[in-house]
């Protein structure tokens, strides 16, 4: 996947947590082996080359394939794993893998878990403060999402996920699947908060590809809140985002 993973864990029995951290690292390594489009021997590469059928792939590949199908339907085709005629689930795998890694740490008895994979974050418990990188001011934080503060803070129960899409996103540009080009009216960045990172990542990628249409789509998505920085430096957010976040500093809201 060519990215950096950061795992923060609070609480739990040290030996169990240590084993779970090792397990999570092994899991991420395994996912990289299975799903890498850069490794000729990976199942994904062999699937793309026609040397392997989906039915003969491992259960996790078939699960990801199913999740990609769900994502395509949920987003009305704005999320697509079809690339150059083949199946490239890269846009979904990272969020899904990070979500799993966080679940592994939680089920090992951790009080609070925060896993960041290349800028996409899954938490359980907390409290955690998740900064949203300001796309136009390198080094600055445009907003802060609060996770796991209990009453009032987390409207999404125990787990909270934050995914950000933008033109500089790792792993290539987000393209409009209908045109194969970068979206028109592209936002500088789009951040989605939901309960699981698989959902948040898909919604962020799909909505980013929608350009200016993202706002209306996101407002109607259940269990999903969003925050965007436009190319002109303004910001907008969905109605419920404010309850999850500290207000953006130094930016002009509205648009």
């Amino acid at each position: 996947m060519g990215t950096v993973f950061s795992l923060d864990v609070r609480g739990g029995a040290p030996d169990r947590i240590a084993a779970a951290v090792e397990g999570a690292a092994a899991w991420l390594r395994h996912v990289d082996e299975v799903f890498s489009t850069y490794r000729p021997g990976s199942q994904i590469s062999r699937l793309a080359a026609g040397g392997l059928t989906l039915a003969r792939c491992s259960a996790e590949v078939r699960e990801v394939h199913r999740l990609c199908e769900d994502a395509r339907r949920r987003t009305g085709g704005w999320f697509s794993a079809a690339y150059a005629g083949g199946f490239d689930p890269t846009g979904l795998v990272k969020g899904w893998a990070v979500e799993r890694a966080a679940e592994m740490l939680r089920s090992a008895g951790a009080d609070a878990v925060c896993v960041n994979g290349g800028g996409d974050v899954q938490t359980f418990g907390g409290p955690w403060r998740i900064g949203v990188a300001d796309p136009l001011r390198p080094g600055a934080v445009a907003a802060v999402v609060r996770a796991g503060e209990g009453a009032g803070g987390t409207a999404h129960g125990d787990g909270l996920a934050v995914a950000t899409s933008g033109p500089a996103e790792r792993g290539g540009h987000v393209l409009d699947p209908h045109t194969g080009r970068p979206p028109r009216d592209a936002l500088a960045s789009l951040t989605v908060v939901s309960r699981t990172l698989t959902e948040a990542d898909v919604a962020a990628t799909a909505a980013y590809a929608m350009g200016a249409r993202a706002r209306g789509w996101l407002a109607a998505e259940p269990g999903t809140e969003a925050f965007a920085v436009t190319a002109g430096g303004r910001t907008w957010h969905t109605a419920g985002f404010g309850a999850l976040a500290d207000p953006p500093a130094g930016r002009t809201p509205g648009r």
Binding site: M1, G2, T3, V4, F5, S6, L7, D8, V9, R10, G11, P14, D15, I17, A18, V21, E22, A25, L28, R29, D32, E33, S36, Y38, R39, D111, C114, N116, G118, G119, D120, V121, P127, W128, R129, I130, G131, V132, A133, P135, P138, G139, A140, V141, V144, V145, V162, A163, T164, G166, A168, R170, S189, T191
Partner: protein
């Protein structure tokens, strides 16, 4: 952060870099705040894919340069980390327990692409690290913490600084 209960907090940074030649997965761990955290071992860093114009990077064990002034400021050099593009070594300044500066001691500079990375990416990563701290956030969404050499050298410097 300071208001948290004094339970062990562990941070693990895993860097995964896929190339055509194969993968590279690095794992390092920094126990935060309390001593209760059993220090996990780190997976050895397989830097076999590094082939860049390494040249000057013999200083893998840069000792802390005791810049300790009276105001509690410490300056610590991280390890020189080999990357595909050459060595990366960072220096951190910690003042009153807070990270206040990150500067580069060694960066790859053998071709225009390296120069570009050195002049743009490293300052940006540094800004992000400092901003994350000043905004008192635990993590950053949408950031570009994608340079494994940068992270590893930074991590080693922070470990030596002793948080």
């Amino acid at each position: 952060m300071s208001a948290l209960p004094s339970r062990p907090l562990r941070r693990v940074v895993i860097t995964s870099v896929s190339t055509v030649a194969g993968g590279l997965l690095l794992l390092s761990l920094k126990p935060h705040s309390t001593a209760g955290a059993a220090p996990l071992t780190t997976a050895p860093a397989p830097t076999a894919t590094s082939s860049g114009p390494a040249g000057s990077s013999g200083a893998a064990t840069a000792p802390p340069t005791g810049g300790g002034s009276t105001s509690g400021t410490r300056t610590v050099d991280g390890d020189a980390v080999q990357t595909r593009y050459g060595p990366v070594q960072l220096r951190v300044t910690v003042t009153g327990g807070r990270l206040t500066a990150v500067t580069a001691v060694q960066l790859p500079q053998s071709n225009p692409r390296d120069e570009e990375i050195s002049s743009f990416a490293v300052p940006q990563l540094t800004q992000e690290v400092l901003a994350a701290q000043s905004a008192r956030v635990d993590t950053v969404s949408g950031a570009t913490y994608t340079s494994e050499g940068y992270l590893r050298s930074l991590q080693s410097a922070l470990d030596k600084a002793g948080g």
